[in-house]
C-alpha cells in the first residue's frame, strides 16, 4: 500500500440552494478542489461520486455531474452508504491511489435534498432501515430511529433533554462562525427546548437540517505529491469501517453504535494513534444524541460520560477534543452524500491552520484529526484519520 495525501479540497455553501441544479452544485466543490490541488482535470483518473440519490431528478447523477465538471473519461463510480456515502466515496478514491491503480483520484459528495417537500423526504429517508418491518406498518422516520436511541441513553445514564440541547447550542455557536453553514446563527437552551417536537425526545433544534450541498477532495500518491511540490500535505493515516443490522430490533442495545466502535478502533490501529492524540474531530451529529453517543463510541470518554463532555465544554475550541467546530451536521447542514467529504474539507483546513475564522481554528499539538461519518442509524460507519 502506498501513502496517500489529500492535496485539494473544495466545499459549496450548504443550504436551500434553489438556484442550483445537481451538476451546478457539484461544480461549486469540484472547481475549488482542483484549483487547491494544482492538478489538471486530466490528471484525475478516478472519480468516486457519493450520493444517496432518489430525491432528485437524475437517476445516474455521477455521469451528469462528471460531464458538467469536465471529468468525463475518468473512471466513474457512485458510492452509496446512506449518510456516509461521501466517506464511502473517499475510501474508494483513497484505495484507488493506495494500491497503485492511479496517482490522482477525486471523491465528490453531492446531495440535492430540497427538490421535494419535507413529508416526501421523511417518507424517503424513513425507509432507511428495513422497509417491511419498520416502515410499512409503523411509519418510522429518521428522527424516530435516533429518538429511540435517545430514550435508552436517557434511561440508562440519566441523559436529559437539556444535555441534548447543549449539543445544538455548541454547534450553532460554531455554525455562526462558518460562512458555508446552513445556520449562521447562535441559539440558546430555551430556544432549543421550546422548538416543536419532531419525535420525542428530539425537537426541531435537535435535528440536522435537510439541505443541499457538495464537497470534493483530491487525493494523490506520495510520488505525485513530490512531483507537484506540495508543501506539508495532509496524509490519510487511517481508515476504519464497519456496519450493523438493518433492523434496529436486532441490535444488542440502544446506548451507542457498535459500527462506530469497530470502525474507530480499526482506524486508530491503522494510524497508530489513540483518542488522546486527536487535535480536532468532526463527528456525525445528525441528531444531538448522536454527538453524545459518538464521544463515547470513539473513546473520547467512557461509556455514559458523553453528557459530562458536553456539560463541561470539553469539546469546544480550547477544550480537550474540539468537536464539530464547523457547526457540524447540526448547524453546517447535512446534505447526505456531501457530508463525508465536507468533514475531510474541514479537517484538512484545520490541519493546515486555515480555518476561515481564527475563533474556530483549533490549537494543533499532534497534527492529527478524525472524521466520523455514520450512514443510517449506525447501519454503516467510516472513521478517517488525517495527519499533517
Amino acid at each position: 500500500m502506498r501513502r496517500v495525501a489529500v492535496i485539494g479540497v473544495g466545499c459549496s455553501k450548504f443550504g436551500v440552494l434553489k438556484d442550483l441544479n445537481l451538476s451546478e452544485l457539484a461544480f461549486e466543490a469540484v472547481k475549488p478542489a482542483i484549483e487547491d490541488s494544482g492538478v489538471s482535470s486530466q490528471d484525475i483518473s478516478l472519480l468516486a461520486f457519493g450520493s444517496v440519490g432518489g430525491m432528485y431528478e437524475e437517476a445516474l447523477p455521477a455521469v451528469v455531474a462528471a460531464e458538467y465538471c469536465g471529468l468525463t473519461g475518468a473512471g466513474l463510480v457512485r458510492c452509496e452508504a446512506a449518510c456516509a456515502s461521501g466517506s464511502a466515496a473517499f475510501m474508494t478514491a483513497y484505495q484507488n491511489v493506495a494500491i497503485g491503480l492511479s496517482d490522482v483520484s477525486m471523491a465528490l459528495g453531492v446531495e440535492k435534498m430540497t427538490e421535494v417537500d419535507t413529508p416526501t423526504m421523511m417518507e424517503l429517508i424513513g425507509r432507511a432501515g428495513s422497509y417491511l418491518w419498520e416502515f410499512h406498518n409503523f411509519g418510522i422516520t429518521f428522527p424516530a430511529y435516533y429518538a429511540m436511541y435517545a430514550s435508552a441513553h436517557m434511561a440508562e445514564y440519566g441523559t436529559t433533554e437539556e444535555d441534548l440541547a447543549l449539543v445544538a447550542v455548541k454547534n450553532h455557536r460554531y455554525g455562526a462562525l462558518n460562512p458555508k453553514a446552513r445556520f449562521q446563527k447562535e441559539t440558546n437552551l430555551d430556544e432549543v427546548l421550546s422548538s416543536f417536537l419532531v419525535s420525542w425526545p428530539l425537537k426541531l433544534y435537535d435535528c440536522s437540517p435537510i439541505c443541499d450541498g457538495s464537497a470534493a477532495v483530491v487525493l494523490a500518491s506520495e510520488e505525485k505529491v513530490r512531483e507537484l511540490g506540495v508543501q506539508d500535505p495532509v496524509w490519510v493515516s487511517g481508515i476504519g469501517y464497519s456496519s450493523d443490522t438493518a433492523n434496529l430490533s436486532k441490535r444488542a442495545d440502544y446506548l451507542g453504535l457498535r459500527a462506530s466502535v469497530t470502525a474507530s478502533r480499526n482506524a486508530y490501529k491503522m494510524a497508530d494513534v489513540g483518542p488522546e492524540d486527536i487535535d480536532v474531530a468532526n463527528v456525525h451529529d445528525c441528531f444531538t444524541i448522536a454527538e453524545i453517543m459518538a464521544y463515547e463510541d470513539l473513546g473520547f470518554c467512557g461509556k455514559g460520560e458523553g453528557t459530562l463532555m458536553i456539560r463541561e465544554g470539553m469539546t469546544e475550541v480550547g477544550g480537550r477534543i474540539p468537536v464539530n467546530v464547523d457547526g457540524g451536521l447540526k448547524a453546517k447542514g447535512h446534505p447526505l452524500g456531501a457530508t463525508g467529504c465536507a468533514m475531510i474539507y474541514e479537517l484538512t483546513k484545520q490541519l493546515r491552520g486555515e480555518a476561515d475564522r481564527p475563533a474556530r481554528q483549533v490549537p494543533l499539538k499532534n497534527n492529527v484529526a478524525l472524521a466520523h461519518n455514520v450512514g443510517g442509524t449506525g447501519h454503516y460507519c467510516y472513521v478517517t484519520i488525517l495527519r499533517r
Binding site: G139, S151, D253
Partner: protein, 143 residues
Amino acid sequence: MFITWPAIKSRATRIEFEIPISKTKRFWDGLKEGEIYSTRCRSCGGMFFPPVADCPDCRSSDMEWVKLEGSGVVEAFTHVVVKPSSFQGMEPYSIAIARLEDGVKVLAWIREAGPTDVEVGMKVRLVVGATPEGEASYWFVPV
C-alpha cells in the same frame, strides 16, 4: 419575504413495488388468524424475528415456524409527531422495541398508552389487529 427561484416541474412518477412474501407467507397468514410467528433454524437453533427463510448464521434453509407468546419489556421508544407523507392523515403514534420472553426482539407501535406513560423497562404484550388502513398488523399494549 419569500424569494422564488425559476424552476421546471419534472414529469411525475408514482412507484409502487410488489414485495414477494412467498417464503414468509405463514407469517402473513398467521396475522389474519391472530397469531404472530417467528422462525427457528432447525440446524443451529437460531430464533429470528423478522421471520426469515434462510439462516444468516449457519446458512441452512431448514427453518420451522414458531408461534410467539408475545410478552416483553420495552428497551427503546419514541413518539412520532412529524410523519412521512404516506402517514400524513394519522394522529401521532408511538413506536417501541421490546425484548420478548420468546427470545427475539420486535419493533412495533405501542398503543393504549399515552405519550407520557411509555418508559424503558415497561412490560408490554404483542397483540394482532388491523391498521387504521385495514391491513393486518401487530402492536404492543401495556400489561
